[in-house]
Subunit: 209 residues, 2 copies
């Protein structure tokens, strides 16, 4: 080989390495921009669910204030609940009205504050989180496809709540879509109606209302 | 110039074009994944703010319930407000405790529902939106850097609220960070405290509390 050819070869290799490096950096930098971490459920080596670190950057579905499924429950203090779902699952729901495998809901239970700064009436959300309820669809991981978990504030992993618990039977009996309370998520309910994915139980419960 | 040099030159140019093309494609493909549309304010040809289509996929900051800055305001019906910020601005705030140029807040005012499905007490959010308050930082566009806008439900564009309106003076006098009510955004307040970006007015107002 002559010198010029070797020079071409070397320069092309350098250009190739540069090409790959710059593109890798672009991909890494743009793969998970702020607001779109897009993971499904993750488990510890002993099979417990890991608390998702970045759920506050997921898609917000709705909030409740002092919601209770039991009449006249007196909590003694006001509470908000905020519900988030992972972006990949949300995207599929928008297209189909159904939840794909690896859907993760995080319900955050947060203290309500009343008077503070210039707020004079009503309630806003404070910095204290009381805990989390997490609902996961993982078809190969759980016998009933879906599983519930509770986390206290600060807990990193949690065991699945046994399938005999009330939350499973109540969600199965009353939830609008595939054991999830889409009736409380105002931007999703019209999608489920349009796509015809409302559960038979929910349709029966709301018929004529 | 000899032939070998010209060949090197040509090949390097091809490699350069390839490098730029592949990187442009990577950037375009990964710039806006599901759940992270990342735009700043957009205006109509007559200078009105366009209602952001996808604010529900932005970063959720907090919700209020019947919040009012006026004592004993009786609205006659319960209301939620939900606040979202564009992901690019949120990312900078996390790093600096400050809002960059092109920050957009959307405050959505949504009807509260009480009894429905299995909910027995407290309130959840219904499908009706009453309107929106939008707060935009656009340093070259607005004399005071920030501007407020109101949108009715369904409105596509809206004129800036004049700077003489109360919202400007109230936000300037009481907001925790750069005319924004970070004191009501529980995940952001600790960041502003840590980064030392709380306004003098807010620090004075909360001193000793």
């Amino acid at each position: 080989m002559n010198k010029a050819y070797m020079r071409v070869n070397t320069l092309l290799r350098i250009a190739g390495v540069l090409l790959v490096s710059v593109c890798m950096i672009s991909l890494l930098a743009f793969r998970q921009p702020a607001g779109a971490p897009n993971v499904g459920p993750e488990y510890s080596s002993d099979g417990q669910l890991r608390m998702p670190d970045n759920y506050r950057e997921w898609i917000y579905l709705s909030s409740g204030f002092d919601m209770s499924y039991v009449p006249n429950q007196a909590a003694g203090h006001h509470m908000f609940d905020n519900v988030f779902v992972n972006p990949a699952a949300y995207k599929i729901f928008q297209q189909t009205g159904s939840w794909p495998d690896k859907t993760v809901f995080v319900l955050e239970i947060r203290e309500a504050q009343a008077k503070g700064s210039i707020n004079q009436s009503g309630n806003y959300q404070g910095t204290d989180v009381m805990g989390y309820d997490i609902h996961v669809k993982d078809e190969t991981h759980f016998q009933g496809k879906w599983a519930f978990f509770n986390f206290n504030s600060g807990e990193k992993t949690s065991k699945m709540i046994p399938q005999s618990a009330d939350c499973y039977s109540c969600h199965a009996a009353h939830a609008a879509v595939d054991t999830t309370f889409v009736q409380f998520y105002p931007t999703l309910l019209p999608i489920a109606k349009a796509k015809g994915t409302l559960s038979a139980a929910y349709q029966k419960e709301t018929a004529g209302k």
